[in-house]
Every structure is written in C-alpha cells, then in structure tokens.
C-alpha cells in the first residue's frame, strides 16, 4: 500500500532520516515510536510529501510517485493526514470544513458532499455540531472533526501525527476511540503517538525509530515483551510500560 525505499531526508546539515525502508500493507495499523528527534514525524510527513525526501522513492499501491505537482496533489488526496494541532479551518463551520475537499478537490456536487459529510460527522459522534465554528469545540471534538475531514476524501490510508498530544488528558480517550473504530473498519493507518496503550491494543506492527534509522519492526507482543534491542528496552523503560 505504502512503501518507501532508502528514504533520506536532511534539514540543512542535519540528517533526520538515514535510509528508511518500510512496507505498509492494506488494512494494517502501524505505530511509529521513538524518542523526540528520532525522525518519526518527519518520516510520516514524507509519506504525503509535506516534506520532500532528498533521496529514495515512495510507492503508493505499487506505483512510484513522480514528484511533479499534480501527482503530489493526487497522492495527498489518497493519503489523508490528521495533525497534532488539528488545523481546522477557523473561517468555516464544522460541516464546511468536512465538505471543502470533496467540493474543491473532487468537484463533487454539493448535495452529495453534504450527505457524505453529515454521515462522517455522525460517525465521529458530532452530528449536533454541524453548523458551529471550530472555536466553539473542545480539543477532542476538534480532532474528531479533523478525522472526519480527512475521511471525506475517502482516502486509502490515513496518517496521524501525534493526534492526542495537544489534548487535555480527559479528552484523549474519545479521539483514540474513533481511531480504534477506524482500525476495526479496516482503514490503513500510520500513527505517530506516545499512547503506548493504543499501540499495544490497536497496532498490528510497531516500528521504532532511533536517530533516523529503523531499529525495530515487530508486532506489539514482541515489541513490548520480548525485544532484544537495547535501545528499545531503554525506550520502554522511559515511557513506563
């Protein structure tokens, strides 16, 4: 579904990704973990070309992505993203936020886009918020709207960049619940998170990054209980699992 080959990314002199090969299968939930600065967010952002890797290739559905502009928009329309700080459009209502991309990018007709958006809003449990502006929502509600907005493009995969890190602790659960439902529906997901409980319970695979390299790629049981990697064990001790 999403495959990277020898991905390298530097910011100036700082090499953040030092040759990343991953292969994410359809329907898989992959959690990226690692200490801050390990490159996990950068890797995620490379997958939909918000950051452009200097070297290496990305294949979506087996097709190599050419980095021309049109192609990138197309890739991004197929691979949705949910951000740490939600990034909802403040000048549009919740419903308009969700309808925007289907209307503008897919040129869908208004009625159809509205119907789809309302259905998605129901799915994230916010049907009653269709006509309010984002600044009237709690953080958890904002993130659920952001997920609905990403789903409105009917993406093949969703990327989550620390989706609960900006939330008050009591609001984390509602967002993770929505993500878990998505996983159960078979959505392909790549998630950068510090929520180890989520990783343990929902992930099919956990990939550990350290200083720009993958040092472990394992199922949760192996990762949490039987890892032989020194750095992984240090990391797990640090996050208390």
């Amino acid at each position: 579904m999403i495959k990277t080959m020898n991905l390298h990314k530097s910011f100036g002199d700082l090499e953040v990704l030092k040759g990343i090969d991953i292969d994410i299968n359809p329907g898989e939930v992959v959690v990226l973990v690692g200490v801050s600065g390990s490159g996990k967010s950068t890797l995620l952002r490379c997958l939909n070309f918000l950051e452009k890797a200097q070297e290496g290739d990305i294949l979506i559905d087996g097709r190599k992505v050419d980095r021309k502009k049109e192609d990138l928009s197309k890739v991004r329309a197929e691979v949705g993203m949910v951000f740490q700080h939600f990034n909802l459009f403040p000048h549009k209502t919740v419903l308009e936020n969700i309808m925007e991309a289907p209307l503008i990018v897919k040129k869908e007709d208004k009625e159809k886009a509205k119907k789809l958006s309302l259905a998605l809003l129901g799915k994230v449990g916010l049907s009653d918020k269709a006509d309010v502006y984002p600044n009237k929502l709690s953080g958890g509600q904002k993130q659920r709207v952001a997920i609905a907005r990403a789903l409105a493009m009917e993406p093949k995969a969703l990327l989550f960049d620390e989706p609960t890190s900006a939330l008050d602790p009591e609001l984390v659960g509602e967002v993770l619940q929505v993500m878990q439902d998505l996983a159960n529906d078979g959505m392909t997901m790549v998630v950068v998170t510090h929520e180890m409980k989520f990783a343990k319970e929902v992930a099919d695979r956990i990939i550990m990054l350290d200083e720009g390299r993958i040092i472990e790629d394992a199922d949760p049981e192996t990762f949490f209980n039987h890892s032989t990697n020194e750095r992984t064990r240090q990391f797990l001790e640090m996050v208390n699992v």
């Binding site: 939909n48 918000l50 502009k69 049109e70 928009s73 197309k74 991004r76 329309a77 197929e78 949705g80 993203m81 951000f83 700080h85 990034n87 909802l88 459009f89 403040p90 000048h91 925007e100 991309a101 503008i104 990018v105 897919k106 502006y133 600044n135 009237k136 952001a146 907005r149 990403a150 493009m153």
Partner: protein
C-alpha cells in the same frame, strides 16, 4: 457672537455648495484609488511571496520606488508621464497615481497578513489534495483578509487625506477648491478651517463604516 464665528459661518454658507461638489470629487478619487490600490496590493503581495525570483524582484522594485519617493512627486511624474503618451484627464491621472502609490503600502499589508496565517492551515489544505492556488484562494486568503482589515482601514483613511495632493495637477477636489477660495476671499484661516472639517467628517464616516464591517466579521466568526 464673536467675530470669528460670524466669519466662519459666513464662509461656510457661501462655500458649502462648491465644497459638497468638491467633496464628491474627493470621494470619487479616493474610491478609485482604493480599488486600484487593493488590486495592485494583492497582485504585488502574491508576487512577493511567490517562488519566482523574477516576480519577487519586480514586486520589491515597485515597493521600494513607491515608498522611497514622495507622493506629490509621483503624482507629477505620472501626470506628465502618462499625458505625454495618452490623453487622460487630470482627474484620472490623479486617481491612478494615488492608486499606484497605495498599492505598494497595501501590498505590504497583505503580505504580512498572508504570512501571518498559521502554517498548519496551508499544510492541512495541501494534505487534503488541494493545489497551492486552491489553498491560497479558499483557505489562506480569506483568513488573511480578516487580519488585513484593520491596517487596510487605516491605509484607506490615509488615502482619503492624501487625495488632497492631486490639487497640484489642477483637480478641483476639496483642497484644490479651498486653495482658490482662500485666495479669492482673502480669508485663508477660515477657509482652511472649514475644509479641514469636511475632511474630518469624511474620515469619521469612514472610520464608522470600517468599525461596522469589522464587527460584522467578528460576529460571523464566533
């Protein structure tokens, strides 16, 4: 009643018909300059933040030249420059000069407003599959416009007052008329006091309208 008030009211009564007509000319010139300046401003702001070095250079040159020279020089330059090529009334020459002048300042207002919109807005737009121009038109610019309203209003008020300078190319707007009245009546103090009040009233009306518009935007948002 003291003498000064008597003279003032006498001057006011004698000139108000002329001044009302002149005020209309002032408003027309200002309106044209604002529209023109806003169009120039948006275009040059977009050029300045574009990825093309050539467009950036053109925009920088324009802004530097306009901000680096006095408006009155620009008016004279444009008037004699343009009218040597095409036939143009002094009214239009003045309005265009004022518009071109304003464009440079408005470009800076829009550039700041666009760059002030959170980066995440652009990223979210691109991540949904929008191209750069869709993201600008649908998401970034509308938010920038909101931020630009207060400084833009300020610039519009400056334009209204700066329009007085087109008197140098013979346009009979408020200040031009006041100049003539002052000379012919031998009452410069009273005449300029009266014309000052016309400007003040216009500015206050402008300010009020802008406040209303700002409030409306704020109500919409929340």
């Amino acid at each position: 009643m003291p003498d000064i008030l008597l003279t003032l009211s006498e001057v006011f009564m004698r000139t108000y018909e002329g001044f009302l007509k002149a005020a209309l000319v002032t408003l027309k010139i200002t309106a044209i300059a604002i529209v023109l300046g806003t169009v120039f401003g948006i275009v040059f702001a977009l050029m300045k933040i574009s990825r093309s070095k050539i467009l950036q250079t053109i925009a920088n040159l324009y802004i530097t030249l306009i901000r680096g020279t006095p408006l009155i020089v620009q008016i004279m330059f444009l008037y004699y420059g343009i009218t040597s090529i095409v036939v143009l009334s002094n009214f239009w020459a003045g309005a265009i000069a004022l518009g071109v002048h304003n464009g440079a300042y408005i470009a800076e207002v829009f550039r700041g407003a666009i760059q002030g919109v959170d980066r995440g807005q652009r990223e979210a737009s691109l991540a949904l599959g929008m191209n750069r121009s869709q993201a600008m038109r649908r998401i970034i610019f509308p938010q920038a416009l909101r931020r630009a309203i207060p400084p833009l209003g300020n610039q519009f008020i400056i334009t209204l007052k700066d329009s007085s300078l087109v008197y140098v190319i013979g346009v009979t707007e408020l200040f031009g008329l006041a100049n003539r009245e002052a000379a012919s009546s031998f009452l410069p103090f009273e005449t300029f006091l009266v014309v000052g009040m016309y400007y003040l009233v216009l500015v206050l009306i402008f300010t009020g309208l802008l406040k209303l518009y700002e409030n409306k935007l704020n109500v919409d948002k929340s």
